[in-house]
Assembly symmetry: C2
Homo-oligomer: 153 residues x 2
DNA sequence: CAGAATCCCCCGAGATACTG
DNA sequence: CAGTATCTCGGGGGATTCTG
């Protein structure tokens, strides 16, 4: 990936005119990060920790729906990536705190940009896919679309 | 999710002081979008189509590694989300073109911000997790970290 | 309190073969 | 050319139980 600090490859500079350099992107760190962003809990934890440091059970209660297993694994992953620090207070019932490293904090910005985009454009996406209430109707909508495609193509 | 166009909830404004409103975020479109970002091919396709419109096999060749099934499913998903359009040229061997909708184009910006972050901070992440060459050493590193944790906590 | 271990299930995703 | 149809497998992720 050549030169990192001065001139960033900026593969995605969204003016990109060229056929897109796959090697620079597919094999490159973006995929890895995208994957983390996509997993079910990581970014949620990052956001929570972006507010302030939390203890384990504090996170567990705050997130609601996550299993202990997944919370632990998620934290481990983020810690391994250097996004989250972990500090053990050697008290009698042990207390473990988690928080964002500087690296983790720096992620907050592009992440919030993406989240803001999501919030802003949610209505358009909802409209695009049929907009009717979720549930049985969704399948009906998909069926209609498939059929529309058949008629068209 | 209240008011969307004037004052965006901006849940993630990274100064966020409050305990983080889970309801506004967890159940909200961000998760959905994050998931899309995380899936193996979607964002790659978006980026490719960000350069210019492509035909099906053109994408298939460009991406290298994607199966027909996955390419089709990915395109379908993006189309359903309103990020990608699809146009069938009623020629004799059928020709189908895909491209980004306006919505899709608008995604390019936050997406590139995230990718740029990834490229910029890849070294730090690599260093954080041990930095040795991938493969068997990775497991050794993980083992070391686990042991370090045991010794510490 | 903060996990580790174990079991289990579902589905994302690849391989392969066939088609209008 | 641009798909669809099946089969298959690995792993992401949940529920439950046990422990320092």
């Amino acid at each position: 990936m050549s030169d990192t600090n001065t001139r960033v490859p900026s593969v995605l500079a969204h003016e990109l005119p060229r056929p897109v350099p796959m090697d620079e992107l597919a094999a490159c760190p973006a995929s890895e990060v995208f994957r983390r962003v996509g997993d079910k809990w990581s970014m949620l934890v990052v956001i929570l920790l972006g507010g302030r440091a939390h203890r384990y059970n504090e996170l567990h209660r705050a997130i609601e729906g996550i299993s202990q297993r997944m919370l632990t694994r998620t934290l481990r992953g983020l810690e391994d990536d250097g996004l989250v620090w972990r500090h053990v207070h050697p008290t009698v019932p042990p207390g473990v705190e988690y928080g964002l490293t500087e690296l983790g904090v720096s992620l907050l910005e592009p992440l919030s940009a993406l989240a803001d985009w999501a919030v802003r454009h949610a209505p358009e996406m909802a409209e695009a896919r049929g907009a009717e209430a979720p549930g049985a109707e969704t399948r009906a909508a998909e069926a209609r679309r498939a059929e529309a495609r058949r008629a068209e193509g």
